[in-house]
Every structure is written in C-alpha cells, then in structure tokens.
Symmetry: C2
Subunit: 244 residues, 2 copies
DNA sequence: ACCTGAACACCGTTCAAGT
DNA sequence: ACCTGAACACCGTTCAAGT
C-alpha cells in the first residue's frame, strides 16, 4: 500500500536510475519516417562528444548537427541529463562479449580488458557518467556475461553476484582514476614535477608510506595498475571456486 | 629540452591533474585579513553543496552565501571546475586515518569503510568528481596510509602499490555504482518494477546468467556488494603477503 | 502531430570603474 | 590591491505559432 503511494509520487525518476530505466522500457518508442528519433539523437551526440568532448556535448550542438532546432530534441528526450545517460549506456554496447570456451579466468580478464578499452575510448562514461551507467540495457548485458562465466565455473549465485560487482566496481574505478578530470586522458608532461612535489611533501612530513614506497607508487603505469590490480582481484575470486 | 618546451606550452593544466596540483602547491597563498580566501570559498561551497546538491553548486550561489559578487571569487579560483576539484579533495580530508596496531587487514578494512562513508556523505565526489579527486593532498594521505599498512605487513613496494590502487579503485567504483546519477542516493521505490523488467527481459532473451542468478543479483544490498567485494579483494591481497 | 524560432531564466566569466 | 556590478556569450528549456 505504502509502496503504491511511493510509486505514484515518484513520477519523474532521475535519469539513469533503475526507476527511470524501468519506466523507459515500458514506454513504446515512436519512430518517424525520415524524422528525428532517439536513435539518431544518440548517434549525433556521440559524434559531438568525440569531436568536442563532454563540455561540448550541448543540446544545441547536437541539434545543429542534426540540422534542426534545439527545441525539437525535447520531443524525444526530456533533458540533457537523459541524453547523457542514453549516450553512456550506448557506449557500453561496444563491449565485445564473446567467445565461450575459455577458462573462467580468461573470460573475465577479457571482459575487464574490453570494458576498460571501451570506457577509455569515449570521453563520456568516465567522470561525469560513471553513475550514469550501470542500470541500462547494455550494462545489464555485461552483468549477465559475468554472471554466466562465474556460474559455469561452479560458483554459487551469491558468490557470482559479488564477484561480478567487484569486477565492475574495480574496472570503473580504475578507469576513472586513469583519466584526468572531465574524462580527458592524462598527459605525461610535467608528471615529473608532480612526483617531485609529492615526494618533497612526504619527506617533510609523517607520510612514511609515501616516503618509503612513493617513488615506486608514482612511477607505476596505468596499465600496470590495472592488470596487476585485476590479478589480485581474480586471485581472490579464485578462492571462491569449488576446485581451487 | 623537449620536456622544457612541453612544460612551457602546458601553462594552464586541467584542474585536478597532477600538473595542476603541482603548480598549485608551488604557488603561495595570499590570505587577507577579513577578506575572501580560498579556504572560505571552499567552506561556503561545501555548505551550498550539502544544501542544494551538485547542480545547485554554482559560482553565483557560493558568492551569494559569502555576501559578495560572483566576480570576486575569480581572484581566488580560476574557474568553477577548480572549485569542484578543491571541494572534492577537501571532502576526502574527513577520512579518519587512524589507530595503528591493528592487523593489516583490519587497518585496510577500516580505511575502506571510512572512505566509503565520507564519499557517500557528500553529493559531490561521486559521479562528477571521481576524476576530480585522487591527486590532491588529502588523496595523497589516503595513499600514504594504505602503503604504510601494506609495507608494515611485509609487502614489497610494488605489491603494496598495486594493492593500494586496487583498494582505492574498488571503493570509488563501488560508491559510484551505489549512487544514482548526480551523486544522489538511490531510493528504494520502484526497485521492484525494475527487477521485474530486467528479469522479464532476461527470460525472453539469451541472458542466461541473469535468468539463473538475476534474482539474487538484483536483491543484493549495497552493503553486501561492498563488504563481500572487499573480502574478495582482501583475500587476493593476502596471497601477496609473506606469512600467508 | 510534429517542428520552428523566439523568448525566458539562468549560467560562467570578464573587465571597466570604483574604493 | 582588491572589490563591485554590469555586461557578454553562452547554456537548457519552454511554448506560442506555424505547417
């Protein structure tokens, strides 16, 4: 009873939330011959995103690319934020889920690597949109693929669940750290200056962890951080498998 | 030589990048008796953030709270993005790094729990700012604390490095997923409808992983996902320790 | 039924003019 | 040297009027 009331009140759920996706999947799309469509808007948005970055991804820029007015888009999307959510999930669709027959470990490693590749490719899902993905149809496919691998390896449903979320959490976190703010890649220039600044601070203070291992930490490559971190996680997962 | 040129050209590094932090730490602050200061601006920004959320955190709103004009803030910050970065790192300062003497595992567990608590407390560092933190002074303290624990447990510098990054990546990723978009918490309402929608899709398609384990997956609480995921990761880390 | 284009209410940022 | 406040160039979004 109480629940029904809540459902009524929450008429406009946040874009990207599970409520929003649920409502959306229940609504039929209305494509129009030759006219605008959500699909065309998303495609144009991704083009703008690739060319102009996240800041350049404005409603106006997308409408201009489509040769129409900005107001027209609001017949297919409710807000810019909705557009970001749709673009974010759409990007996840590029992850190649594939090739059965490998070991569970090779399968998950491939999934992690693929997801990372796709996320690093677009300047969107990063920073701004990490919370914007995760509940859409393409995110669901990722979850499904990971669950399948773990179940096939003999894991319990609960262990497969937590292994799946741990893997996804790790990949998204790692990608977010690797990028600079706004989703742009981190350039290597002046990295040296930063290293020296951090090490100088460390040696002057009680940051003994950094004093002792800071040089190693700051020299680690993004690839090392990702693949060695993945190994640690996969080792932990392996302990949950029956024939370990 | 080439490096010097790069340094010259990169005169305005992205806020939040290591270059930016390095430049910033080298620049002296100029506090003014009774006047504006970066410190006061950050404090006001966090108040606005808490009250109005990330969207409400505008330069104008912060200046209004400080009883001044929006233009005045630009004497202390170069842009809104800089402000977001500063706020993001400042929030991390609330993490209580503490209490030595525990086992490495208890120490890291506490650090993870604390970091999660702080991140979930503020509506900023999430979504928008996950890429905005990680290189500032308070992020550095987190890294230092984790490195110290691992080194004390007998880990090599490299293993300690990758264990540290894996832990931070996981926590940031888990927090980002737990939030809805824009950093707001996920309400529970209509979750049921989403579950049913996903399960309906799964049973109609080839998403056999979700078909078999979807109910368990979708019923998992955020706390379970976090703590069980942390266990997996810590088990993997434990394998890197000498007296395992 | 859909699109247009003009308008509205905001933004972040700049900069002359003040003090 | 710092602050003001007005202005500029944008936004996202709405909505009458068209077709």
């Amino acid at each position: 009873l109480d629940w029904v009331v809540t459902q009524r009140v929450e008429a406009n759920p946040d874009p990207g939330s599970s409520q929003w996706w649920a409502q959306r999947s229940a609504r039929p799309s209305r494509p129009r011959q030759g006219g605008l469509s959500t699909r065309r808007i998303i495609d144009a948005a991704i083009e703008v995103l690739t060319e102009s970055g996240l800041d350049g991804l404005t409603v106006r820029a997308v409408s201009e690319r489509l040769g129409t007015s900005s107001g027209s888009l609001y017949r297919h999307i409710a807000s810019r934020e909705e557009l970001l959510v749709l673009v974010g999930d759409d990007c996840l669709g590029a992850v190649r889920l594939g090739e059965h027959g490998f070991s569970w470990r090779a399968g998950i490693e491939t999934l992690m690597r693929e997801l990372r590749r796709v996320l690093l490719e677009h300047p969107l899902p990063p920073v701004t949109a990490i919370g914007h993905v995760g509940r859409g149809p393409n995110a669901i496919k990722l979850v499904d693929a990971a669950l399948r691998v773990f179940l096939d390896a003999g894991m319990s449903e609960r262990d497969a669940t937590f292994a799946t979320t741990a893997v996804l959490d790790f990949v998204f976190g790692a990608v977010s750290f690797q990028r600079g703010p706004k989703g742009r890649g981190v350039t290597g220039s002046m990295q040296h200056e930063y290293r020296e600044a951090v090490l100088a601070i460390a040696s002057d203070s009680e940051l003994t962890g950094l004093r002792d291992a800071g040089r190693t930490f700051l020299a680690a490559s993004a690839d090392d951080v990702f693949f060695r971190g993945a190994e640690i996680l996969l080792d932990g997962i392996a302990l949950r498998l029956p024939r370990h």
